[in-house]
């Protein structure tokens, strides 16, 4: 108990990152069906769901890449048809923004990071939003456990092979996947005059939206 170690002071990991096209080339050489794009100084690899586990395992085990850390796993919902973002156009006069696509997709983004080589990139997988399914990567990165549960909870994506795919942040008996674009924001309608009684939560209609 008498030795007290003072933390050693290091200069942290500052190795210069590999250039992005070198990274992209290393993966597209091995997996020609992967598409690499670059924007805002960031590399994104678009992978099909059936190659996902293989690509991630390669990224983790390859010596040059050495992506030991899965930083983030998140979902974005791109709904089918016309999705109107600005819903108050009639009252404000602001331009009405629309996002249109034919097939609704849920895009799942994996941010991979290397601790020794100091580089990172993003892997993007898309799955149709009416029956979203992806292979689970918990065998490759254990940290994906909570993240995949969260994507399941909020988007409904079923990860095949996940040890315990249950809701994590919403109550266990919740119906619906809140972060999808067709799920309403919820809450109560707030009139600015005290003329409306707001019923307690269990008597409210879940489809009451703000606007």
């Amino acid at each position: 108990m008498t030795e007290f170690s003072v933390p050693t002071r290091t200069h942290g990991l500052t190795r210069t990152a590999l250039p992005l096209d070198g990274l992209a080339a290393r993966i597209t050489d091995r997996f020609p069906e992967v598409e690499a794009t670059e924007a805002y100084g960031e590399l994104t690899l678009h992978v099909a769901p059936e190659h996902l586990v293989e690509v991630l395992t390669f990224c983790r085990d390859d010596e040059e890449l050495d992506m030991a850390l899965l930083s983030d796993l998140s979902g974005v919902h791109w709904p089918a048809g016309d999705h109107i973002i600005e819903r108050q156009a009639s009252t404000t006069g602001w331009p009405e923004y629309r996002v249109s696509r034919e097939q609704g997709m849920i895009e799942v983004l994996y941010i991979l990071r290397s601790l020794t080589r100091n580089h990172w990139f993003r892997v993007s997988v898309a799955t149709p939003d009416d029956a979203p399914q992806l292979p689970s990567v918990t065998e490759v990165f254990t940290t994906a456990n909570f993240h995949e549960r969260e994507v399941f909870d909020f988007f409904g994506v079923e990860f095949a092979g996940h040890p315990d795919l249950t809701r994590i942040l919403m109550p266990d008996d919740w119906i619906g996947h809140p972060h999808r674009k067709d799920y309403p924001l919820g809450g109560v309608d707030i009139p600015y005059k005290n003329d409306k009684f707001i019923p307690p939560p269990d008597e409210r209609d879940i489809r009451e939206v703000i606007d």
């Binding site: 003072v6 290091t10 930083s71 942040l169 919403m170």
Partner: protein, 436 residues
């Protein structure tokens, strides 16, 4: 008449009865399968750092499995931000990790600025660094205070909150709020720092080193503190990386990974500081590490204060800059009379611009960015998706507490129930960040 219990018929067929005479307890009990007791800790519990529910599978007093159940503070911030403008997003995201709100704000604003492809003025960058490092000190003080209280040292609780008050006074004098300040906006700061900002920071930099040395003295050699923290909650580097753990836990395992060095943002590359690491990888190492991080933070603040540049604190582009001109005038409310006169009397375009910026907000080009910063708990990343409108399409927050909680299971196995408190305390989870 003597009844030999071993030959009498048992009371019921499905009740297991064991007859032990004293010395043969071990052999008899071990022959039977172990039963684990499952108990529930929380969500309302004095020692679980907020609304965290832990389900412990115990074999006697030893933990065989720990399952964290989260979601009791889920606020739907990410979805709510999709119906608010980019600047209003700052107000929402700042309430996620409420012990380090300036980190949330900075990470979000840096992401928006990356999409907008603008350069923040140097003065704003330096002030951001100073405020963030003070926030790191405040967050570590809360960790020391609550960790100490949970382990029984109420003195540490009182000391930690006493010092934190001084840091909060500084924040209040600059942004107007003690916590959850929406001070860092896309493009710079909401308003310039006050005239006595440097003096206040200097006063704090004089006060804090003495106090931190005091806390070290209080706890470092304390036999109870040592017994309760040494060897508890081990997490080696390989397991930590597999579980995605970053921050002080990873550095206590020997990996010198700090995003301020690896991917510098907001001018960190110009400051000289060290990244403390430890090799013991237990809770005591994390305690020493956080104290050392506070010292390094003060070093950064010293350098940033010495080289604080002048100039504006918001980008010059009038279509993005938050039009907040404030000075203490006759009305006492704070609206700058010169600015009001300009937009009301002189320039119609300025009025329209002001109106549009404060109601509709600016639009951000379409794209996806991921921007991580080094928060007191680890890698705090914002994955922002924009479709070219005035509202974020989707923002996902990679919160370090959410990811680090997965390692609680592996850290607590084989330890006693009382050590679970220490394990959760050394993880430093903030439930607002875990549940968002």
């Amino acid at each position: 008449m003597a009844i030999d219990p071993r030959t009498e018929a048992s009371l019921s067929d499905d009740v297991l009865e064991l007859f032990v005479e004293g010395a043969d307890w071990e052999s008899v009990v071990d022959a039977v399968e172990d039963e684990t007791i499952t108990i529930n800790m929380g969500p309302q519990h004095p020692s679980t750092h907020g609304v965290l529910r832990l389900v412990l599978d115990l074999d006697g007093e030893t933990v065989t499995r720990l399952t964290p159940i989260v979601g009791y503070l889920h606020t739907g911030i990410e979805k709510n931000a999709e119906v608010r403008t980019w600047v209003q997003g700052t107000t929402f995201f700042t309430r996620m990790d409420y012990l380090a709100p300036l980190f949330n704000e900075t990470a979000f604003c840096l992401g928006v600025e990356k999409l907008l492809d603008i350069e923040v003025p140097e003065r704003a960058q330096a002030v951001r660094v100073i405020l963030m490092e003070f926030n790191r000190i405040a967050s570590h003080l809360v960790w020391l205070a609550t960790g100490g209280m949970e382990l029984g040292s109420t003195t540490m609780m009182v000391f930690g909150f006493r010092e934190r008050e001084h840091v909060l006074d500084l924040f209040e004098s600059q942004s107007g709020l003690r916590m959850n300040h929406a001070y860092i906006r896309p493009g710079g700061l909401a308003q310039d720092v006050t005239e006595d900002f440097v003096d206040r920071c200097e006063a704090l930099l004089e006060l804090l080193p003495r106090k931190i040395a005091e806390y070290e003295d209080l706890l470092k050699r304390n036999p109870i503190w040592n017994d309760r923290l040494r060897g508890i909650g081990p997490l080696d580097a390989e397991t930590a990386t597999r579980y995605g753990v970053t921050g002080p836990l990873l550095r206590a395992a020997g990996v010198p990974f700090d995003l301020r060095k690896a991917q510098p943002y907001s001018g960190y590359e110009q400051y000289e500081f060290d990244v403390p690491t430890e090799t013991a990888a237990d809770s005591y190492a994390r305690f020493l590490l956080r104290i050392e991080e506070m010292r390094q933070s003060m070093r950064i603040i010293r350098q940033a204060l010495d080289t604080l540049p002048g100039g504006p604190v918001m980008v010059a582009d009038k279509h993005i800059a938050w039009p907040s001109q404030q000075s203490l005038g006759v009305d006492g409310i704070g609206n700058d009379p010169e600015y009001i006169r300009h937009i009301m009397g002189e320039s119609m375009e300025a009025l329209i611009n002001h109106f549009k910026l404060t109601t509709q907000g600016f639009t951000v080009p379409a794209g996806q960015v991921y921007l991580p910063v080094e928060s007191p708990r680890g890698e705090l990343g914002y994955a922002i998706t924009s479709t070219g409108t005035n509202k974020p399409y989707r923002v996902h927050v990679r919160e370090p507490s959410f990811v680090n909680l997965q390692a609680a299971d592996i850290m607590a196995r084989g330890q006693m129930v009382a050590d679970v408190v220490v394990v959760v305390a050394s993880l430093d989870p903030v439930m607002g960040g875990v549940d968002r």
